[in-house]
């Protein structure tokens, strides 16, 4: 029926419905317009009714009411604009209010279930912390540019073998000069080489400094300028002009108080005087955190035509000409290398050369390790996600009644899901904040403990990029772990839940299935990570043991020199070293003490060698490396004795000289394995005193990993006392530094005037080459530990929940006569079945992905059965323990009590 005064509103096309007393929270534009029309027409109708009651005709009353009202159209438009704006703000503030309510509610709920919140927070903090920490390192190493001018056009030049391009050598001086003269792709090629110095400050003890000698053009090629003074100028590396030094910012600040006036002064390095010409800006380094740089005078090295071509020790950096490309530059150096190979076949046969981007050359070794670590951290994150989804899901099942009540009271599914999302986001953010804190502390601590891990130009800091990474991760996790229960809620029928809730028995089948899948996934991932970590641990042990040939762990070393007139007789030298080593060996915490002329990896001296009874080609006398050792040198370094015996008292006196050789020497000179008892002579004199071989020891690496172990001879230092300097090696049972006072006391009591130099751990001496591996290994191992812990918690949690929700069933079973044992087995079987399935999945995954690891492994097959068996066995034990507790709880169910459980 048409309302009498709707003619005032001819434009109203929205039909009027019955009265609505409940206002919707938000109205559409049409709805707003209609409401205003209803309101205004009511006003007019009331006025018309009043006027007609006073006796006015209907038509007059209507006209009068219209006139009195004023501008109707304007008012309608005005009210619409007002109401639309009101609604908009209401909508926004309603959203905000809803979220705030969700947030408040989430925090309150989480506070109520403190155990759940704590477990989730811990899990999240560990996982996010690990990921953030690794990312901050990876970000700095793999993504940040090097601190040089236009670093993208810098390359490292390597020599390599045409047959095995993965081997990379440094350049020999002669080849370096030829590359420099013949190349047409670079604006400059520079070279550097490590050059340690002892610095004698004006006051204070001598200091050992790390330095590099560089060609004069190094700083120009790198495109860097000095902070104070200058860098080297062309010709500064010429003979006689090389007594100049450029200081690093760190050394300048630390040792010289950051005083710019040092430029122009002189300093004494290893007994020679150098002019200080400049100081480099903060952060500049060639990658080894040098204290200073000196010019490299290669004229002396070049004087020996043979050696200068054969000894490869120069690291070369070149800047590619802007007019050419990396490929063309690579082809250029390769062509030069081939020409040199033809020209100098005896030294260069088979040698090739390549140009590698400097960034890749400096980070190449770190890249796979970092990617591996990031992968391991990601697995931890996945496990953490599964764990938290699991915890949240268990909790959601427990809250089904609450959710059902809220749904019955009118909360939509979307609203409930949003509530759950809010809870998970709150948790994730809290976890993320703690995680970033953990990451900051962890990276700083780890890098402080392992200073050699990263080339010093890379500073792992938690900056904006890293924070963004963590934020994305955190939000992702929050959504993910909220989504599982949220989706679950969306499927739940509130009526069913309420009915079930009253019975308080069975659990939702869907949730159960999801949780099982999560447990299987968790165990599977943990197994993969554990196997990976196991392989790496074994590989590292192979590397340190087999590759080094000795065990550098817990060994303290120091340099001693029995110098001066008092040590002019062999007896005096022997008395001194015997006394020192004896006293050290009997010191507290010392397992073995010995001494050697040159520490492993620090090089060796060579000598010609003649084997008695073998024909000698006088034009080509073979060489052997020569070392003299005392006391328990082999025991202290755990170098295995392969045949014969070590030196003993019978070798001490005036009898025939005895020696030990390494396996490389045995293979080289005694291929039939008949070395023991044979006699050799060393030195240029073919009729020198013969030495009898009494033992063969394992090979030890004297140089880098790429160089084969040379044949080596170990003489008895008691008979070779002309070498006055020895490096003491002390194996300790605890912290090697704790042997320092023992060492000092021993030397002081034997001769108080003698100095002890370079007291360092052997790890430290050889350390830098192994530090990154050890660092990565420690991290992967701890990730694997975290993964195992999380997976165990996951299994335990799920099984505990399953037991709790089946209390009544167990009660019934027990009441009906089931034995405790059968209940125990029932639960145990269930838990183990999931875990073993996960285990199988994990082993499958590890087998499939083993090849990814193979590049990181040394001396261990990716399918190493020992690792697999060990991990699987260990995990079964841990899992069984995790299952046992809830299983035992199931047997303790009181049948009567259980009936009352709601």
């Amino acid at each position: 029926m048409r309302k009498p005064y709707s003619k005032f509103f001819a434009r109203t096309d929205v039909p009027l419905k019955g009265p609505r007393f409940l206002q919707l929270p938000w109205r559409s534009r049409a709805r707003i317009a209609r409401d205003i029309d209803i309101e205004l027409s009511f006003h007019l109708e009331m006025r018309v009714a009043e006027l007609t009651a006073q006796g006015m005709s209907a038509a007059d009353a209507a006209r009068r009411a219209r006139e009195e009202f004023g501008d109707l159209e304007l008012t309608r438009a005005y009210c619409r604009t007002m109401d639309e704006s009101t609604d908009r703000t209401a909508r926004i503030s309603d959203h905000v209010a809803d979220w705030r309510q969700d947030l408040r509610y989430a925090i309150r709920t989480l506070r109520r279930s403190a155990g759940f919140a704590a477990a989730s927070l811990l899990t999240l903090a560990l996982a996010l912390g690990a990921n953030t920490a690794i990312f901050s390192v990876a970000h700095s190493v793999l993504l940040e540019p090097l601190p040089y001018g236009r670093p993208e056009s810098l390359v490292a030049l390597h020599e390599t073998r045409a047959t095995s391009p993965s081997e990379r050598y440094q350049l020999s001086p002669a080849n370096f000069f030829d590359f420099r003269a013949q190349q047409r792709s670079f604006t400059g090629i520079a070279a550097y080489n490590g050059a340690p110095f002892t610095w004698l400050p004006d006051n204070g003890d001598p200091q050992f400094l790390f330095a590099s000698s560089v060609t004069a053009n190094m700083f120009d090629v790198l495109g860097v300028r000095a902070l104070h003074g200058r860098t080297f100028a062309a010709g500064d590396d010429a003979p006689g002009k090389d007594r100049q030094v450029v200081l690093s910012y760190g050394f300048w600040e630390r040792a010289l108080g950051g005083n710019p006036a040092v430029v122009g002064t002189r300093m004494t390095l290893s007994g020679r005087t150098y002019d200080v010409v400049g100081v480099m800006p903060r952060g500049f380094t060639l990658g080894t955190n040098e204290d200073l740089w000196v010019p490299m005078d290669l004229s002396e090295a070049m004087a020996d035509a043979v050696r200068s071509r054969k000894q490869h020790y120069l690291r070369a950096i070149a800047r590619i000409d802007t007019r050419t490309t990396l490929e063309r530059a690579g082809a250029d150096v390769s062509a030069i290398a081939r020409r040199l190979a033809a020209q100098y076949p005896e030294a260069n046969t088979g040698l090739d050369a390549l140009a590698v981007p400097l960034h890749e050359s400096m980070t190449g070794k770190l890249r796979p390790a970092l990617l591996l670590l990031q992968g391991a951290a990601a697995i931890v994150l996945l496990i953490a996600c599964a764990n938290i989804a699991n915890l949240t899901l268990s909790r959601t099942m427990g809250r089904r009644r609450e959710m059902a009540v809220r749904a019955a009271l009118g909360a939509g599914r979307a609203r409930l899901a949003r509530q759950l999302l809010a809870e998970s986001l709150v948790l994730a953010f809290a976890g993320g904040v703690i995680g970033v804190g953990v990451a900051v502390v962890a990276t700083r601590t780890l890098l402080a403990l392992n200073p050699d891990t990263l080339p010093s130009m890379f500073t792992a800091t938690v900056d904006g990029g890293v924070l963004l990474f963590s934020l994305v991760l955190t939000v992702g996790i929050g959504l993910l772990m909220g989504l599982v229960p949220a989706l679950h809620v969306a499927r739940v029928d509130p009526q069913e839940s309420l009915k079930e809730g009253e019975r308080g028995t069975s659990q939702g089948r869907g949730g159960e299935r999801v949780r099982r899948v999560l447990v299987v996934a968790q165990v599977g991932l943990a197994v993969m990570l554990l196997i990976g970590a196991g392989l790496l641990v074994r590989s590292f042990r192979e590397l340190t043991r087999v590759q080094l040939g000795f065990d550098p762990d817990r060994v303290l070393t120091a340099q001693l020199r029995a110098g001066g007139e008092r040590y002019d007789s062999p007896d005096a030298v022997n008395r001194f070293y015997d006394r020192v080593l004896d006293e050290i060996a009997h010191g507290p915490g010392v397992a073995a003490a010995g001494a050697v002329t040159i520490l492993p990896t620090r090089g060796s001296v060579g000598s010609s060698v003649r084997v008695e009874g073998e024909p000698v080609d006088e034009a080509n006398i073979p060489e052997i490396r020569y070392l003299a050792v005392r006391r328990d040198f082999f025991k202290a370094l755990r170098i295995p004795l392969k045949a014969g015996r070590e030196f003993d008292a019978s070798d001490a006196a005036d009898g025939p000289k005895t020696v030990l050789i390494n396996e490389a020497a045995e293979r080289r000179f005694f291929p039939r394995g008949d070395a023991l008892g044979r006699r050799i002579r060393i030195g240029p004199d073919p009729n020198g005193e013969p030495m009898t071989i009494v033992g063969v020891v394992g090979d030890i690496r004297a140089e880098g990993f790429a160089v084969p172990v040379p044949p080596t001879l170990f003489a008895n230092h008691r008979r070779e006392t002309w070498e006055r300097s020895l490096a003491v090696v002390i194996r300790t049972s605890g912290d090697p530094a704790s042997a320092t006072p023992v060492l000092r006391r021993a030397v002081k009591s034997a001769d108080p005037t003698l100095a002890i130099r370079d007291v360092r751990t052997l790890d430290d001496v050889i350390g830098s080459s192994l530090a990154p591996r050890r660092f990565a290994l420690g991290l992967v191992a701890s990730f694997a530990g975290i993964a195992l812990l999380l997976a165990t918690i996951g299994i335990y949690g799920v099984l505990s929940y399953a037991v709790a929700s089946r209390t009544r069933e167990f009660g019934v079973r027990l009441a009906l006569g089931a034995t405790e044992r059968s209940i125990l087995l029932l639960v145990l079987r269930q838990g183990l079945a999931w875990s073993l399935f996960g285990l199988a999945v994990g082993v499958g995954g590890a087998l499939a992905s083993g090849r990814l690891l193979s590049r990181m492994l040394y001396g261990v097959q990716p399918l190493d059965s020992t690792t697999y068996v060990g991990v699987v066995g260990g995990l079964v034990v841990v899992v069984a323990a995790a299952c046992l507790v809830p299983s035992l709880r199931a047997t303790r169910v009181d049948p009567i009590q259980s009936m009352h459980v709601r």
Partner: protein, 110 residues
């Protein structure tokens, strides 16, 4: 009935409407009746000004509205003063009173 004088300002209508709602919820028509009765027919606010004021006040959250049934069983929009509206009424009344007193003082024949 005289039409609303043109100098009747927006702010004036607003405070009159707030005052009208001070004790009870009302619909727009009732407010206009109340104002006319209260001022002995001197102050009459036309419909346009009244409804614009009401929706403006709702926008400022000084009044809220809800649908209800009128005396003659018609659907009508009822307005209620919020606590912010009460506060506004108090301050505006004080300002207005002192203003009116000042004007009165000036106009008073000596």
């Amino acid at each position: 009935m005289k039409p609303t004088p043109p100098e009747m300002l927006q702010g004036t209508v607003d405070i009159l409407v707030l005052r009208a709602l001070a004790w009870d919820s009302m619909h727009g028509y009732a407010i206009s009746r109340w104002l006319a009765a209260r001022s002995d027919g001197v102050l009459t606010v036309d419909g346009a000004a009244l409804y614009q004021a009401l929706h403006r006040l709702a926008r400022r959250k000084w009044v809220t509205s809800s649908w209800g049934l009128s005396e003659n069983n018609r659907k009508a929009k009822y307005y209620t003063l919020t606590s912010a509206g009460h506060a506004q009424l108090r301050t505006e009344s004080a300002t207005w009173t002192s203003y009116a007193e000042a004007v009165f003082k000036v106009l008073r024949p000596n």
